[in-house]
């Protein structure tokens, strides 16, 4: 005997033949900020990265095939370099980069919005009081590490397939930080795609 599925759950079924589906999705892309050098990080989401850790874009600069994306929120994170023992970016570096930068979202041929980075809370990150015996330890994250503390667009934006989009982060001048770090941009929303 099959388990009865409540009526209000049926719309969430994942294997309806010949139909499309909309699911929770976050697009993300990462670039390296070079200490005391970088002024602009352009082309977020414009490239398919080698590692899924860096990005989950399947096609550079646009949604592939029949896929669409409804952009509902956006966030920016400062992360330590990959493959090191550093678990978090130092507080003073996060402050310097987040306080001084701004992000521009381009869709098609024009800018759709821009924000200072300090408004783009990522909605995640570590929480708590750090301690290492005999050493100084600090960490910082952009906004409260709480999924509810994510910047939501007053008006969501529907990115249809083959429509180019990208993000660009600018600083007025190169920022002097402790060491190179990674900047990750998060686009939060819903993915529309053909069902499996």
């Amino acid at each position: 005997m099959a388990i009865p599925v409540p009526r209000n759950l049926r719309k969430n079924q994942v294997t309806v033949p010949n139909a499309g589906e909309w699911i929770d999705w976050i697009l993300y892309d990462t670039q390296v900020y070079v200490d005391n050098t970088t002024v602009v990080l352009d082309g977020f989401f414009g490239t398919v990265r080698a590692s899924i850790v860096d990005s989950n874009m399947e096609t550079g600069g646009q949604m592939p095939g029949q896929k669409m994306f409804l952009l509902r929120g956006i966030g920016v994170e400062v992360l330590p370099p990959l493959n090191t023992s550093a678990t978090t970016a130092p507080l003073i570096d996060v402050i310097a980069l987040i306080h001084q930068g701004a992000l521009r979202l381009n869709i098609g041929s024009k800018s759709y919005a821009e924000w200072p980075l300090f408004l783009l809370s990522a909605g995640g990150g570590v929480f708590g009081n750090p301690y290492t015996a005999g050493a100084s330890v600090t960490y910082g994250v952009n906004g409260l590490p709480d999924p509810r503390a994510c910047y939501g667009l007053a008006r969501p934006l529907l990115l249809t397939s083959s429509l180019n989009f990208s993000c660009r982060i600018e600083w007025a001048a190169a920022v002097n930080i402790t060491a190179n770090c990674r900047i990750r941009v998060l686009l939060k929303g819903e993915l529309g795609r053909p069902v499996q």
Partner: protein, 197 residues
Amino acid sequence: MGNGGIPIPSGFSDHSVTVPNASEWVDKVLWDTQQYAAGGQVFLDFFQGLPASLPAGNLTQAGTIGNNVFIIRGLGVFARGSATGAAGVGLGIAVLAAQGVLRLIIGAKDYGVWPIHLLPVGGGVYGAANDNTGLSPYETTNIGRPDPRAGYVLTRPLLIPPNLNFRVRLEWTAAIAITNATNLVVCLKGEMGRFVQ
């Protein structure tokens, strides 16, 4: 139906970005940065000039939104610290927020006056330090929690029509000296109406 037959829920179609010959409303934050001198200021005017860079501000015409329309739904004040970010905000912002007010002027009259204390921008850095090397424990001090939900929201949004002058002024009764010059940012949050691409 959407691309290749994927049905677009009816509510989503309202958010299409490429409707020819139409206008559109998009999320918009207008911001401007001015430096509060260490020796003190009596007032700072915002949105009266073109910013030197995008991080400093995003107004493209001094004092107006140009041919577009802007609805202000919320506003806030944020302390960036020194121009390079090397020096943290410290407690200077606590002093300035406790003793200053923000005045919003649209056209020729006031549309609101608020103590700066009441205007969290709803963003910023959260962090912690167990540190013995000289970093200030107040490094993340700012106005309000770094949470978009904590931003000040207007009970009645204000719609600014095209080409109408507006400005924001931060005022103090006297110049208050603080430890380091601090860049202050005023954010006006809302939506902008413009012609679509």
